[in-house]
Amino acid sequence: MVDFLNAAAGMLLITTMVGLCRMLRAPTDTDRMMTAQLAGSGGVGILALLAVAGEAPPVLDVALLLALLAAFASVAFVSGASTSTSPSDRP
């Protein structure tokens, strides 16, 4: 079971991160945000799998924190992106 969960975590890691590398090269703002969102939930999934595979309950807390901050990063990105598209905002 541990091997299976580790393998699933590895597959998730490779899937989301390959998607990430691919998207960083041909980006529009919205594509980047979607990729960030996918990487965030992928990371949460990987951490949950690792927590159960390694029987380390604290790792679930890391997953919880990441779930919270994934949304935060997207918000930061939305406001950052709208700053960069409207030049009049700049000081």
Partner: protein
């Protein structure tokens, strides 16, 4: 009984991973923003949901199980809102 539980875990986690894979492929291959969002939300909600469902029988305590469900709910809520935000941003252009 334990074989049945293990089977549930294997099936659900595999299905979740497949949703993540499909979501990533969709994100790379689909032509425009709404299509890509469609692919992304499947990975977010169903992929993570199935993985959490598969992990639930494996955790030791009720608190951990609740925490797993909380993680999924949190991603579900914030994912739904963030997806709306992304859609609004993409339509703005």
């Amino acid at each position: 009984m334990s074989t049945a539980i293990a089977l549930v875990t294997v099936v659900a986690v595999s299905a979740g991973s497949i949703f993540f894979l499909a979501g990533t492929i969709g994100l790379i291959r689909f032509p425009d923003a709404p299509c890509r969002l469609h692919a992304l939300t499947k990975a977010d909600n169903l992929g993570l949901g199935l993985i959490v469902l598969g992990l639930l029988p494996q955790v030791g305590t009720l608190a951990e199980a609740l925490k797993l469900v909380c993680i999924w709910l949190l991603v579900l809520f914030s994912g739904a809102i963030v997806t709306q935000l992304i859609a609004a941003t993409s339509r703005h252009k």
